[in-house]
């Protein structure tokens, strides 16, 4: 539901066919307060990834059936998973594969055996490095401007203040105009898929967003579609 505040709610997926190694990794990661998931092969890994969307994947190079590098390649090809950073685990003497791993799109690799401290240090570095994703260009609607770089919304160059949720809601609307969304869909996209809040809560945040946008009647773009949900549209803003 929230951004990366405490490093403690990051989910790491461990993919290795050897249980003892998984155990060792899990211990090290849980010591560092990460949440761990485990998979023994590529197929199992894939379903967990789709299901749980981990923040980072520790991927062994050697896997039965589908190799780790093949899994990495697939993950980096898929829109939904390509942003998840991958750290490849390689055994000693597989130095050449490291390069191959990096070429496939792995974000780092670690040679076994490694110290737990090293593991965690690298993992943190990768998480930090890949933490930024999103829109870079300012979005302008008439005199309304949202600049994702500075994280500022202005109307006629005057800054508008709003809460984080309202900001995300507006951002979603601006990037998904002229389309109705049900409350459920909005919860999915703005709140994040795995939280449970009442659907009516959406109404309240719509209200709050409308309130701050009232300054130049920009709230007219947020339209209620009775029986369905809400829509943001500049074209269909018939109301005065």
């Amino acid at each position: 539901m929230n951004l990366d505040n405490s490093n403690q709610n990051k989910t790491i997926l461990i993919v290795d066919d050897e249980a003892p190694i998984r155990d060792m990794l899990r211990v090290a990661l849980e010591m560092a307060d990460y949440r761990c998931l485990e998979a023994a092969d590529a197929q199992q890994a894939h379903s967990i990834i789709v299901d749980e969307k981990p923040n980072l994947i520790l991927l062994d190079w050697m896997l039965p059936v589908t190799s780790g590098i093949e899994l990495a390649r697939r993950l980096k090809k898929d829109e939904l998973t390509q942003s998840i950073p991958i750290i490849m685990l390689t055994a000693k003497g597989e130095e050449d594969n490291k390069i191959q791993g990096l070429e496939v799109g792995a974000d780092d690799y670690i040679t076994k055996p490694f110290s737990p401290r090293e593991l965690v240090a690298r993992l943190k570095a990768v998480l930090r490095r890949t933490n930024n994703a999103g829109i870079e260009e300012p979005i302008m609607i008439e005199d309304l401007c949202m600049d994702p770089i500075s994280h500022v919304v202005t109307v006629n160059d005057q800054a508008i203040q709003m809460g984080p949720t309202e900001y995300r809601l507006l951002e979603f609307f601006l990037t998904h105009q002229d389309r109705v969304y049900t409350r459920s869909q909005l919860l999915d996209h703005v709140w994040g898929g795995n939280v449970y809040v009442e659907e009516r809560t959406v109404d309240v945040h719509i209200r709050r967003l409308r309130k701050v946008l009232q300054i130049e009647n920009y709230d007219r773009f947020i339209q209620t579609v009775r029986g369905t949900g809400y829509r943001f549209s500049t074209k269909l803003a018939i109301k005065a």
Copy 2:
């Protein structure tokens, strides 16, 4: 992705006491179009560094007289040289030293033996990461002035005292205005990529920086963006 292919203006200093290894490294680097310098011991290395200001240092762990790690420590301590990225070269089985190297401030390490391709890949990565053309000109914001040469910050020609971390934080802010940074990103840029400190530590240093900037209310430029992080901006410094 790779915009800058002109490696010719990048100077790499190779520090290793074994001539054959130096040769190998030099060949690999010159193939990749880097300019190379060589040093056989720490003392020689130091004078070359001061003299030539290389863009990156490849530093062997084992050196006669003064060890590589000791040299690294000194370089990272000196204001003039601390921004030069260092890649440590370690022999197999010295895995523990890696951590020590990173703690000293090395930006990466490579285990011997390594493939030339790997070397260059890592080197590029480090250069990309630390691609900061050092600031030379004083930065002025109204009556606030930061002189990177003398390392002095003044308000109305009156010097302000602050700790090194606060200085680096302010420097980062002054050179990256009007943009939100998460705590994580600030740790990356101000503290350095491979240290582990709590994210809340950023808050404390923000606090300390604000405190010393309160003199002429210059702390109003440091804005907190709730749910995200902090931003330095002179434009958006008005609050209701």
